[in-house]
Symmetry: C2
Subunit: 224 residues, 2 copies
């Protein structure tokens, strides 16, 4: 994209990561770590393959992404964030926080969903009420994949995929899971939305936010 030509740190940032799709590529790399081109495509439904290649080249030139060619055992290329790219996490989190109210009405018709996208809300809204307790892991399953939410020593972390012997398992539609994770609805309400919960419910109560008396923010008008 053409530079904005402005000596301003916001404009300079957008010169590098303001292109369409670019910040979503960074999102995937933040959430899923070193990843193959094809898996990256899978996490970015809708992107054109030439655009993905273009963006990866530009991000590499900008020092945000590094390309890694592992040795003989692995015959593929991995893309990962550089330390400088990792520093975009704060900005991505801020943008994601701002977007939470936009998720309340539920997915629009035709919206894609991937389980790792739950990681931002999870790390943002969950907190361990017993930070000194033993580590716990909750597995979250949706039709489009699973993530594991782990709390150890008071820190919440998420990993894509599943785990053995989770303390609890949540499964259901993305909208119901999200309502629960953001504290917008409580567990019984989420279950009435189709969420299923197995395992130790005390572990859930330990991590889940207190449901908030919803602010009177009106549903944003749909446009575009």
């Amino acid at each position: 994209m053409k530079s904005y030509g402005q000596y301003c740190s916001v404009a300079k940032t957008l010169d590098l990561v303001g292109d369409r799709w670019t910040l979503l590529i960074v999102r995937e790399l933040l959430l899923r770590g070193p990843i193959r081109y094809t898996d990256l495509r899978g996490g970015l439904p809708g992107i054109a393959t030439n655009l993905l290649a273009d963006r990866l080249r530009a991000l590499e030139a900008a020092g945000v992404v590094a390309r890694e060619e592992p040795g003989p055992p692995i015959a593929t290329t991995l893309f990962r964030l550089t330390p400088r790219g990792e520093e975009l996490r704060e900005a991505l989190e801020a943008l994601g926080r701002w977007g939470i109210p936009l998720m309340v009405p539920g997915p629009a018709a035709g919206d894609a969903f991937r389980a790792p996208w739950l990681a931002f809300p999870a790390e943002q809204f969950l907190a361990d009420r017993r930070p000194d307790g033993p580590p716990v892991r909750i597995e979250v399953r949706t039709a489009e994949g699973a993530i594991v939410i782990e709390s150890r020593e008071g820190r919440i972390q998420t990993l894509p995929g599943t785990t053995e012997k989770p303390d609890a398992v949540l499964s259901g539609k993305s909208h119901a899971v999200l309502g629960l994770l953001t504290g917008r609805v409580d567990l019984p309400a989420a279950e009435s939305m189709g969420l299923r919960c197995e395992g130790d419910r005390a572990v859930l109560r330990r991590l889940l936010p207190k449901p908030i008396a919803t602010a009177p923010e009106p549903a944003p008008k749909l446009s575009s």
Copy 2:
């Protein structure tokens, strides 16, 4: 722009503010407050006037911007952020922080500059070492306008424009001012870059960051 069609809060945010120029429009509204269309254009060198009108309409529909028609004394329209729009400040600040290293090499050939753009670095890097002291104001003048940096009760604020009886006045090139405000260079070094300083230098020492032993971050490669 077309929606990404992803049920993810980052993607939903970018659906609303990810268009080219949109976040820079929000930047101007954050830094300069309610403002006329023409002045907005002046703060966004390079934007096409039809794009500005399009973006303002879209931001209005998204609930980020409100249009205000003052009464008879004023015969113009003012654009301002809604409270929801103000909430984008954190995201803009995070993006601006990430871009500070990109400012170190100085403006690229042909880069535009406006004094209010210094506000993000100023509020980010300055801190009052004597929060209980009397309020102080520093006026910063460049060829492209001036801002006032004010500290009262330990809080740093910036306003576009000038003020009467500032405690100190800094004037010079944007690059020198920025180096000083971010703590990359100290006052003597900035003066050797052409910065001029009048008034109470103790006030400057009270607010300026301690110059940092510069991290060994190499200058980012230029590309575009």
